[in-house]
């Protein structure tokens, strides 16, 4: 099981990427009016909070943020073995008419985002929902496209793209792990 690791983004690169993403989110939204950032459990949540902080500092506003756990909306719940742990969902405000940006760490098959869209629909009817991801690794299985991308990478199916965030992992980094024999 020998693997090779290569760092796609180190801590400084990740900060720069997030700043750019913050700018793009504000541009995409045409300002900060009605903007809400919702992170997907688990690493999407700290990323959404950081984007909010960055936007808040630059625009001198307070952007509401929330957390969404999509476990109960997964389409593979019948097939996963031991039941996955369900994290908290925090959406302490109305979504009606808001411009919601879903934030996640890695975009792959699109199934997580599909579940998130379903779940948001049960909370209300936002004016618009956009998607911001730190890494887009391709390999979509559903017609879902990100609006804001930190870094696009072309990787093989067996590869792993691991995102580390200070809040949960003690460091910031994006690492590509590839099995040696598959190279």
């Amino acid at each position: 099981m020998a693997t090779t690791s290569s760092t796609l983004l180190d801590a400084r690169a990740m900060l720069r990427t997030l700043r750019r993403m913050a700018d793009e989110i504000v541009e995409l939204n045409g300002g900060t009016e009605g903007l809400v950032l919702i992170g997907i459990q688990r690493r999407g949540v700290p990323l959404a909070e950081r984007l909010c902080t960055i936007i808040g500092e630059r625009e001198n506003v307070t952007i509401p943020t929330g957390a969404l756990d999509i476990t109960l909306y997964r389409d593979d719940l019948q097939t996963v073995g031991p039941r996955p742990v369900v994290g908290p969902t925090r959406l302490p405000w109305e979504l009606e008419g808001r411009h919601v940006v879903i934030v996640d760490d890695v975009l792959y098959t699109g199934r997580t985002v599909r579940a998130a869209l379903d779940e948001l629909a049960d909370f209300g009817r936002p004016a618009r929902i956009a998607l911001a991801v730190l890494v887009d690794r391709g390999g979509r299985e559903l017609p879902i496209h990100p609006d804001v991308v930190g870094r696009s990478v072309d990787v093989l199916r067996g590869d792993h793209v691991d995102v580390y965030v200070e809040e949960l992992d003690g460091r910031d980094a994006v690492v590509l792990k590839r099995r040696a024999e598959e190279q």
Partner: protein
């Protein structure tokens, strides 16, 4: 079966402390679902659940039904009256019929101790015991634990006294095991005619006087005194029971600390519990009801699905 708590939930006695903690931890995020505008998630979509109630029970049945519906399961309620059960069908035939209809889960309430296990041994579906005779009522025990944990944090080293008719109470047994497995010191208090006389060998402290129990405990779980116990001669009168064993505010005022008050309901106000205690600031009785739905959702979630073969096939798909 891949569920971390086994195929069925029949009792708390066979569970480990870790399994009980897992259920309680799983219940936490489910509390929030009941606060949403649309109180429903698609988790158990397509699952069929039969609520098989051989004994009438409004509270437990409604709580289970809410839990099932909030997880999008399809549910059917079967009550003993008017069903084939009343026409003399045996439990084993009922079980076989359910099995033949390819249901996924059964929630069973039955007047006979061991009935849930009897059913679970004979069908493939997951079985949840919603109270079997005077044996156990595990989801009630779990919701009591969750309610206590909400208010006390880690329960290890805490003292909880179960008060009243322990002999005939399935709630008492589930509480006793659940509390002990989480490291709680358990007391029981009631007339000796309503305590199993081997109770001390289960590792609990027995209090003959409610005043002593109140002085000792951090929380009281007050059991319902069923009126038929008086008719069967276990106690002379409800009036005397209230005077000697009733939890009253006058008695609670003498306690060295504020006691949390639990009651599985339905209450006999003025018998085992006085109204000012039931409605007082330390009463968690309605919290128990709220937590009941979350705990039952957690149990349904943990037991349902998890087909081992499909899980194997789905492995190695990487992140999503």
């Amino acid at each position: 079966m891949t569920s971390p708590i086994g195929k069925d939930l029949l009792a708390l006695e066979p569970l480990t402390g870790d399994q009980i903690r897992l259920i309680l931890d799983t219940a936490e995020p489910f509390k929030e679902i009941s606060e949403r505008a649309i109180k429903k998630v698609p988790t158990l979509r397509g699952k069929t659940i039969v609520n098989l109630f051989f004994e009438s029970s409004t509270r437990t049945r409604i709580s289970f039904e809410f839990a099932e519906k909030r997880l999008s399961a399809d549910t059917v309620n079967v009550a003993a009256s008017g069903s084939s059960v009343q026409k003399g069908e045996t439990l084993v035939d009922t079980a076989r019929n359910l099995e033949a209809m390819r249901i996924d889960m059964v929630v069973i309430r039955h007047g006979s101790s061991g009935a849930a296990k009897f059913l679970a041994d004979r069908i493939e579906s997951n079985v949840i015991n919603a109270g079997d005779g005077t044996h156990e009522h595990p989801t009630q025990g779990l919701l009591d634990l969750l309610t206590l944990r909400d208010h006390l944090g880690d329960l290890a080293g805490r003292k909880v006294c179960i008060c009243g008719d322990v002999l005939h109470s399935r709630v008492a047994r589930s509480n006793l095991w659940g509390l002990k497995k989480l490291g709680v010191e358990v007391g029981v208090c009631g007339p000796r005619s309503l305590l199993p006389n081997a109770i001390e060998s289960l590792g609990v402290t027995v209090f003959d006087h409610i005043e002593e129990a109140i002085e000792w405990a951090d929380a009281l779980n007050i059991l319902r005194l069923q009126l038929e116990r008086m008719h069967a001669g276990y106690i002379p009168s409800l009036r005397e029971y209230n005077r000697i064993f009733g939890v009253t505010s006058a008695r609670l005022e003498k306690a060295p600390r504020d006691l949390l008050i639990l009651h599985p309901g339905p209450m006999n106000r003025g018998v085992e519990i006085d109204s000012d205690v039931a409605d007082g600031p330390h009463s968690l009785i309605l919290n128990q009801v709220t937590n009941g739905v979350a705990v039952r959702m957690a149990v349904l979630y943990l037991l349902a699905g998890g087909n081992a073969q499909l899980a194997e096939a789905a492995k190695g798909q990487g992140e999503r």
